[in-house]
């Protein structure tokens, strides 16, 4: 829906930003930052100083360190979710698209059920029953999003199935397994990659939202949504504590959205984008 017109500069900037954030997240333990979980009440709500570049929070923890360590949780959890979803939904969607018949309609009915719930509310219910915590949030968001992917993958597989190169391979007597691995998957992969990139931001917002409510990542583990939840009571006196983690989520989500959009445009221009992804 959103295509063209995006300056190359903005896309490059997003990519550069994500690479920097990724590098910081991966190297966080070796950057010589203060311990993000160390409580020091003597220095609580301190102003920025040489020791604490962005000051400290209400428990005297270093804000910059919590932001950088928080990126590991906020971004890492989303990658875990995507890995689960992409793996599972690619399997389920290709199975439905390829097998057709009863398998297809059974799988699609299951998708229908999961798409009937309002997403965030099903995730909340799941976490409420299984208990709060990062693992359960990851499972909950997987559970609420896989059906949507499976359905799109099925659509792509169905349209690939009728393409000449696949038909030719079939006529040549290629085995089913080989057909999927050598012919379908290579055309499917870029589409799923674009979908996943476009969705990273959305999922980050869900993880952060659940954590903000206190249902996701549990303190003292640093995470951006939790940091916003911690800082809300200081909106009158220390608004900067709210500003940093929110800005971090916003900028990273935006960069992923811009990147995903540019990837979709590129794939579209090359004529490889399937109707199901648009």
């Amino acid at each position: 829906m959103m295509r063209g017109m995006l300056g190359k500069g903005i896309v490059r900037l997003s990519l550069a930003l994500l690479l920097i954030v990724g590098a910081l997240a991966l190297s966080a333990p070796w950057l010589g930052l203060p311990d993000p979980e160390e409580v020091n009440l003597a220095e609580k709500l301190a102003a920025p100083s040489a020791q604490h570049l962005l000051g400290t929070d209400h428990l005297g923890r270093d804000v910059l360190s919590r932001l950088i360590f928080g990126s590991r949780v906020s971004i890492g959890s989303v990658f875990a979710i995507l890995l689960l979803i992409v793996g599972f939904s690619t399997f389920a969607g290709s199975l439905a698209g390829f097998a057709g018949g009863a398998v297809d309609s059974a799988l699609m009915r299951i998708c229908d059920i999961f798409l009937t719930f309002p997403t965030l509310i099903l995730a909340m219910f799941f976490v409420g029953v299984l208990g709060t915590g990062l693992t359960n949030v990851i499972l909950a968001i997987f559970l609420t999003h896989w059906a949507w992917y499976a359905r799109i993958v099925r659509g792509i597989v169905l349209s690939l199935k009728s393409r000449e190169f696949v038909l030719a391979a079939r006529v040549a007597g290629t085995s089913r397994f080989r057909l999927v691995v050598r012919h379908i998957l290579p055309s499917l992969a870029p589409q799923v990659l674009v979908l996943a990139t476009l969705d990273i931001g959305h999922m980050m917002l869900h993880v952060a939202g659940l954590s903000f409510l206190g249902l996701g990542v549990q303190p003292p583990l640093p995470e951006w949504g939790v940091m916003i939840g911690d800082a809300r009571q200081f909106i009158w006196t220390q608004p900067q504590l709210l500003l940093y983690p929110g800005l971090a989520i916003f900028v990273v989500v935006m960069a992923f959205n811009l990147l995903g959009d540019a990837m979709r445009d590129a794939l579209d221009r090359s004529g490889m984008l399937e109707e199901a992804v648009k």
Binding site: M1, M2, M5, R109, D112, I113, F114, T116, F117, P118, T119, L120, I121, L122, M124, F125, F126, V127, G128, V129, L130, G131, T132, G201, H202, L205, A208, G209, F212, L213, G214, L215, G225, I228, R232, I235, W236, P239, L242, P245, G246, I249, F250, V253, M254, N257, L258
Partner: protein, 313 residues
């Protein structure tokens, strides 16, 4: 038309039934013993004998399918049990908080339409010019900003700094401004793009070309012909936005201390109050499904092609 409506409802019933199976199965995953929770709630000391009796009473000794049918028949009679915390019937509690949430979500939907229609039209008419670029940037911001953070930014600007709006709670119309804007921001951002794409598609369509050839004025083409056709998908999309609104309301109610059902449900998560949670999810899902049914019917009403295709099948 009646046949179409009946058909749609008949399709929904098995899906709702399967939804209840999923809810039941997730409930079965819960840690902790429901019999124990029941005893705690009733202030009975948890002796061995009391636990066995409680399991019998709650039907936990029966096989799982039998338990499901017991549970379902109770749910159909709107008996969702009592809250583990307050001991009051769950339905009563939920219905007490529900109106505030529906007011918030309804106002959010209304505001989404009111804001996104003119903005979408401007974006389409000024395609590739400054207003379009600005609205494009706005859309990216809208889908990227965490709603809970946006809420606090608004509170900081309009309550803390300027002192124009109340920070929390429910009261006059002033209390609604920030929660509604926070709730609908993302939907507006999505809807503006969606409407723009639809408008541009119809502006290029053959029927528009034909209207132009007949000498219909440009203004009439845009506001009558193109608008009418482009609004149909936008109306359908409203059903989807409602799902986001019901979920988003949980966050917004928390930020602004809005006394709705979402805030109540978050407390239920902390208290592991399963009866409340199951009633909450069933209620929200049914509301979501019924609204989408309503939108479907409305859609068929506006666009006879859908209705006829549905009847032929």
């Amino acid at each position: 038309m009646i046949r179409f409506i009946i058909k749609r409802i008949l399709v929904l019933l098995p899906i709702l039934l399967l939804v209840s199976v999923v809810v039941f199965l997730i409930l079965r995953l819960a840690k902790g013993d429901p019999a124990m929770a029941y005893l705690r709630m009733s202030n009975i000391p948890p002796t061995e004998q009391a636990l066995v009796d409680a399991r019998m009473e709650l039907g936990l000794d029966k096989p799982i399918p039998a338990q499901y049918f017991d549970w379902l028949s109770k749910a159909l009679r709107l008996d969702f049990g009592r809250s583990y915390v307050t001991g009051r019937p769950v339905l009563e509690e939920i219905l007490h908080y529900l109106p505030a949430t529906l007011v918030l979500a309804g106002a959010g939907l209304l505001f989404t339409l009111l804001a996104s229609i003119p903005l979408g039209v401007v974006a389409a008419l000024k395609k590739d010019r400054l207003p379009d670029h600005l609205l494009r940037a706005f859309s990216f911001v809208g889908v990227s900003i965490p709603s809970f953070w946006l809420g606090f930014l608004l509170v900081y600007a309009f309550a803390v700094k300027l002192g124009w709006l109340p920070t929390m709670g429910r009261g006059g119309p002033l209390h609604m401004i920030m929660p509604v804007v926070t709730l609908s921001f993302m939907s507006i951002a999505i809807n503006v793009r969606f409407l723009r794409a639809n408008l541009l598609e119809h502006i290029r369509s053959r029927s528009t070309l034909y209207a132009r050839a007949r000498g219909v004025s440009e203004r009439r083409i845009v506001w009558v012909h193109v608008m009418r056709n482009s609004m149909i998908p936008v109306v359908t999309a409203i059903g989807m936005h409602l799902g986001e609104m019901l979920g988003g309301a949980v966050l917004v109610e928390n930020i602004f201390s809005w006394p709705g059902v979402g805030r109540f449900a978050v407390q239920a998560v902390f208290n592991r109050d399963y009866p409340v949670l199951q009633c909450f999810i069933l209620m929200m899902t049914v509301i979501f499904v019924l609204c989408n049914l309503f939108v479907d019917i409305l859609y068929a009403f506006i666009d006879p092609r859908i209705r006829l295709a549905g009847e032929q099948r």
